[in-house]
Amino acid sequence: MLWFATRDSNPVRGLSMMSNASCDSPTPVGPFSAWRSLWELYVTRLREFFREPARIFWVYGFPTILAICLGMAFRSSTTETFIVDLVAPSASETESTSTQRAAFETLVEAIQARNNDPQRRPDLPILQFKVVDAPLGWERLITGKTALLARLEGEDGMVYHYDPTRAEARAARAALDDLVQRARGRLDPVRVENQLIQEPGSRYIDWLIPGLIGLNTMGGGMWGIGFLLVNFRRNGLLKRFRATPMPRWHFLSAILGARLTFLIPDVAVLLTVGVVVFGMPIRGSLATAFVVVLAGATAFAGIGLLIASRVSSTEAVNGMMNLVMLPMWMFSGIFFSYERFPDVIHPFIQALPMTQMLDALRAVLLEGAGWPVIWPSVAILMAWGVIPFVVAVRIFKWT
């Protein structure tokens, strides 16, 4: 895909021109040494990368830690815990009746009993409660320290204070209300049986690992190519290379090749964490998954190259890259599915390379999909790679 990079891309043609020169008789150069600069540039890039421990941490260590943390956080949450505040009835005889106080005692005991019940139904949350007076409870509620504030009203009434826009508050209210009603003897007329599915492949962590692979691929393409090239330009290195007979496409290919090489351990580490630590299944072909990752990396490298093609300030390129990455961070479903966004913007979301890469990668890894399903995604990714690349090579500023 790099053949159009420069007009002198064919080393053999360059050599024949040189041997026609009348000035001297250069030693004939075999095809191997004509490609040597490509190899040397590639090796130099690899060395430079692996000699920077900080860089290795950010590229490999950080996503691994992130995967493990997020995986742990979401794996251990088969039982939810909600914080609720209960307003204690006043101790004075004039302000509360003994019936009221007894009802409160009953409620507290019922909550404790359910929290500690080893036979507790798995869909019921733990209600971690705090007994408060009314002003404190109100303050904790409006500052978000508790999800729900509950108080007894009269002999057999309950009042719930909560923010209906908080899912956690709504769930806490439902759970507490269920418990209050049951404590007063409510019975369910319909017999319910819960069948819990904890099949690997459908859990959040299984969904997250491909997202992190996509995130890393995008970061690598943007920073590893865009930022790198701008730095080279600022340091005068591009200009220095321009003053040598090195074919320009050797340089760009070496950068791209090195980038794809760094991706191999990166993807391997994340997949290994997924499989070994979280028992994530790999249902499709690993080779197909790798092709998807390569196509994604090409797309992001093309975009990174385009962004970096003329800029010579790191601040400017930083801003531009963030601007380009922001929609993909938000919409492409790295951490959460984009299905929650309105249908009207789905075509826009699906045009983003990150969306295509993640959809295809999840289809291969989690659903065992093959080429018939993913080829459109790979084609879109290749378009995202090639079109910016062609434009970038044409407008690329070496000096």
């Binding site: 002198d8 050599l15 600069s37 040598t244």
Partner: protein
């Protein structure tokens, strides 16, 4: 206006004429033929205008330069910052495109033979920061791989006395070592023609001398070298021939000796008087025996003389006649700095800008003369 001024204007005319003659006497050769006996570089009518952004006027960095540099010559472009030296050398290196004019490098043109020229030249740029985590030998090997033939990478390092740093990362090198590395990377393709843009700018005196030694050795080997500098001592020490560049034009060309000799005297007497009005005009000293030029410095006067021992007694007599008292008197051998001041009324280094426009209108007069 005094006699001294006229004198200098005459010199300027002589300089300008001599450079014109040397370039027009070159026989025409067809472009594209690489003649090993022809000049290493031939430039005719080179101009470069940068289009400014917005409403600012376009900047004319190079305003018509003619040059001919022979093979085996060490040629210096000497001039103050912003004179157009780097623009000129980057056009010669194929990194910048001329607005108009012809450029031939090793008898070849950049339009048609760019890759061949690149194979045969070596370049150091004004500021290149090589990857910090690469060793000097690795970089030499990398740059060697760009050329079909060239030196052994270790040999390139040896030529710039960096053998002991072969396995050192670039980040550990001093400024002078980095600059020598840049020269090694320019040498590794065994170029016929070497371009050095401001090779010692920003280096400490010891590093500068080390680099001079390296360049001196390359020169002794008969390699063609083109360098730019704003240090007149550097140009004087390293170059066979020099072109003094100012405001995008060559204002004088020749060997350092020739240029200094054209001042009309090998020595400069600088003196300062105790404050007394009215200030004496420089013309008051122009007719002293052996004085070929007079100019006013910011503090005092500068006389160009052939023999200081003959001129000083008569200068002292003249001061006594005017009833003036000497505050300071120095003499030195005339240098390229004096040539530059004589031609432009300004000093080479901005920070040494002694002569102010109000006391010396010579600079502008020189330009209107061209």
């Amino acid at each position: 206006m005094g006699v001294g001024f006229l004198n200098i204007e005459d010199q300027v005319r002589v300089f300008a004429t001599s450079s014109t003659v040397s370039s027009s006497s070159t026989p025409e050769r067809s472009l594209g033929m690489s003649d090993p006996r022809g000049p290493a570089i031939r430039v005719e009518g080179l101009t470069k205008t940068y289009q400014a952004k917005g409403k600012a006027a376009p900047v004319q960095a190079v305003r018509g330069i003619d040059l001919e540099i022979a093979r085996g010559e060490c040629f210096g472009l000497l001039g103050p910052n912003g004179a157009g030296k780097t623009t000129t050398i980057e056009i010669l290196e194929g990194l910048n495109h001329p607005t108009s004019g012809t450029v031939e490098v090793l008898g070849l043109s950049w339009e048609r033979h760019d890759q061949e020229i690149r194979r045969r030249i070596g370049v150091t740029l004004q500021e290149t920061r090589f990857p910090e985590k690469a060793t000097t030998l690795e970089l030499a090997r990398l740059f060697r791989s760009f050329y079909p033939r060239g030196l052994d990478p270790a040999e390139a390092l040896a030529r710039v006395a960096l053998t002991s740093k072969a396995s050192a990362y670039v980040e550990t090198l001093s400024g002078g070592q980095r600059q020598r590395l840049a020269v090694a990377l320019a040498l590794v393709g065994d170029p016929e023609l070497l371009f050095l843009d401001e090779p010692t700018t920003g280096l400490d005196p010891q590093s500068r001398r080390q680099l001079w030694e390296v360049i001196g050795q390359l020169r002794a080997q008969g390699r063609t070298i083109v360098l730019t500098t704003h240090y007149m001592d550097e140009a004087e020490k390293l170059c066979d021939r020099i072109a003094i560049v100012d405001h995008g034009r060559i204002i004088a060309q020749g060997s350092p000796r020739q240029l200094i000799d054209r001042l009309g005297g090998g020595h400069i007497i600088i003196f300062e008087l105790e404050e007394r009005s009215p200030r004496l005009e420089p013309s008051a000293f122009a007719d002293l025996p052996g004085v070929t030029a007079v100019r006013r410095e910011a503090e005092g006067y500068a006389l160009t003389v052939a023999e200081p021992h003959a001129a000083i007694p008569s200068l002292l007599d003249r001061l006594a006649d005017h009833g003036r008292v000497l505050k300071r008197l120095d003499t030195h051998q005339a240098s390229l700095e004096d040539v530059f001041v004589a031609l432009t009324g300004r000093h080479l280094r901005d920070d040494l800008d002694v002569a102010s426009p109000s006391t010396n209108g010579l600079g502008s007069r020189v330009h209107s003369n061209e």
